[in-house]
Amino acid sequence: MATNQSDINVYVEKQKRKRELQHYYVSFVLMILFTILAFAAVMLRDSINDYLIAIFIVTMAIVQVVFQLYYFMHMKDKDHGFPSLFLYGGAAVAFLTVISFVSIIWIS
């Protein structure tokens, strides 16, 4: 009776949980790394082109946010179709707003 279906399910869940924990650790370390790289890049602003640094730190931010969303907020898991739709919908509107405000010429 030790190996009935529910015991197997519990075992599978535990294994899944273990792997999930590893994912969390790896994402966390990577996020710390992206943050440090972004700050370090700004510290080096005297020797590197400002434009390159700007592109680099914005990329670091986006990559870090992807890790936060997909691993910490579980968007990589199944049943996250609508959450993705909502978030990307919101992000698209936000992006358009930023683009239009940045390119408005009559402010300056």
Binding site: I32, V65, P83, L87
Partner: protein
């Protein structure tokens, strides 16, 4: 009582075990989509007005890269502790969940304290809310984020106080899960704030 107790232990995802829980989960993500738009407009306003310092001080004159770095690390660690809290919730370990959520709250308070200190410094340097277009858009963007941190602290604290009585059930699990999502979202917004406001601000100097 013991029946509900054993049943929740077998659930892998107690937050989505009921229709109400599923609805809360979906509804909360819809709300986060709206929050994204809210912060998008605040970022857009800030980006359009950040050079309009009038006669007041500019951002790079005031910003401290060390303070920003410490705040960032505090919030990033608090994001991990709330992940641990949700993991403990899924394992039906109430004490562990409470511990990790309380650590999250504590880190949130540290972040908020640093921000208040930072704002009071700026204020004494002559950057009031109405000093310039830059100052208004800066305080509105960063302050709205700080307000979210404050709300998150209140929310998680009250949930935790109630958890001593209510424990982890299919009714309370969605609440804990959704509060953790909110906390992660606060960190997502902060990533853009430290990049766009502080780092790009210092860079553009």
């Amino acid at each position: 009582m013991s029946e509900t107790h054993t049943s929740i232990e077998k659930l892998a995802n107690p937050e989505k075990a009921t229709l109400e829980g599923k609805n809360k989960f979906l509804g909360f993500w819809f709300f986060l989509g709206g929050e994204t738009v809210l912060f998008g407009t605040l970022f857009a306003t800030f980006l359009a007005l950040r050079d309009k310092v009038a006669s007041g001080p500019s951002g790079p004159e005031l910003f401290s890269i060390t303070t920003t770095f410490i705040s960032t690390m505090i919030l990033l660690v608090s994001s991990l502790t709330s992940v641990f809290a949700v993991m403990a919730m899924k394992d039906n370990k109430l004490r562990q969940m409470q511990l990790w959520f309380w650590v999250t709250v504590l880190l949130g308070l540290c972040f908020l304290g640093l921000e208040i200190y930072e704002f009071s410094e700026y204020l004494s340097e002559g950057l009031g809310y109405k000093t310039s277009a830059f100052s208004s858009s800066f305080y509105t963007l960063v302050g709205t984020h700080g307000g979210h941190v404050f709300f998150g602290i209140l929310w998680i604290s009250t949930l935790m106080i109630a958890s001593y009585k209510k424990g982890i059930t299919t009714v309370t699990a969605p609440k804990y899960y959704v509060a953790a999502l909110y906390w992660h979202f606060i960190d997502v917004v902060w990533v853009f704030i430290f990049t766009v406001v502080y780092l790009l601000g210092i860079l553009g100097d």
